[in-house]
Amino acid sequence: MTDPATLAIDQALVHDVLAARAGAFERLVLTYQGLCWHVILRMVRHPDDARELCQEAFLRVHQCLNQYRGDSALKSWIAQVAYSVAKRHLERRRVPIADMPCEEDGLSAADRVADPVDLERAHADGEAAGLLHAAIADLAPLPRTILTLYHLEEMPIAEIASITGLAEGTIKSHLFRSRQHLRAVLERDIGAAA
């Protein structure tokens, strides 16, 4: 639930953009370009495509801003536009957005628990971070984006559900399985390195 103060700030910004006040749209882009970039880059992965799609998303925001009713935070509305622009781009290129990578050996995460002390040491060395970033990049676009919205943008599950048009249970399931998968990859690779 978005607080009334945020909604009032959003509405004032939208009002300024629609009234074509000088610098208002640039202010809107500056405020939300990080969010838009994270969503699109996580979806499409290629920085050049992501930059172009980010621009396309903001052009669409400008074109459709009069349809923003203020029912939800402007942040969610813009994330929804960014998500749909990136999703359409992937669909045009026939890239599946929701496949989960397969477990290679059929073992569950719990079966491959490595010593947490090893993991902590690896984390401190930056080794774990490198492995995890590679594993995150290998995830399918949808779970990768859901993880970003939840962990990096700190959005609640209900808001992510409204952005992606999926049920809250589906979002939770993606979060759970993706994090489980990342842990399995980490434990396998740290274990192999040890």
Partner: protein, 147 residues
């Protein structure tokens, strides 16, 4: 609590621990592992948008708006020219008839002219009332009111 629920709780607890920067020493081993993942997931991607991205997009939008305005003005001019041409054509074809009817009407005496004057005034009055009703200012939403 089944195993999946236990794991979900551990993942959420790890996320909370990372956000609050809690010490890891007291955490469950499962939570410690998940905190390493939560920390990586909370990192922004290394690639960034160009520093002047917002200014570039704003300029592009501005140029598109100007292009739209120029296009609308040209279409408007074209339509007005077509309208003027139509009016001129109709006036050439039916002008003589209109002059004859007007002359007959005016020669019908003061009574005939008065009826037309009343009808014309009523039309103008009604148009003015409708225009006034449409331009009554609408109150902005509560969040936008200036106190």
């Amino acid at each position: 609590m089944n195993h999946d629920e236990y794991e979900w709780q551990a993942q959420e607890s790890a996320l909370d621990g990372e956000r609050r920067q809690r010490e890891r020493s007291g955490d469950d081993p499962l939570v410690v592992r998940d905190r390493v993942i939560a920390a990586a997931l909370a990192q922004a991607p290394a690639q960034q948008l160009p520093a002047d991205f917002a200014a570039q997009v704003a300029r592009k939008v501005q140029s598109l708006v100007e292009l739209d305005t120029r296009f609308e003005q040209r279409v408007q001019t074209l339509l007005l020219a077509a309208l003027a041409l139509g009016v001129a054509t109709v006036a050439v074809i039916y002008g003589a008839e209109w002059v004859q009817s007007g002359t007959r009407l005016m020669s019908g005496g003061a009574n005939g002219s008065l009826h037309w004057l009343v009808a014309g005034s009523t039309c103008i009055g009604l148009s003015w009332l409708f225009a006034r009703a449409q331009t009554t200012p609408v109150q902005p939403p509560a969040g936008l009111r200036r106190h």
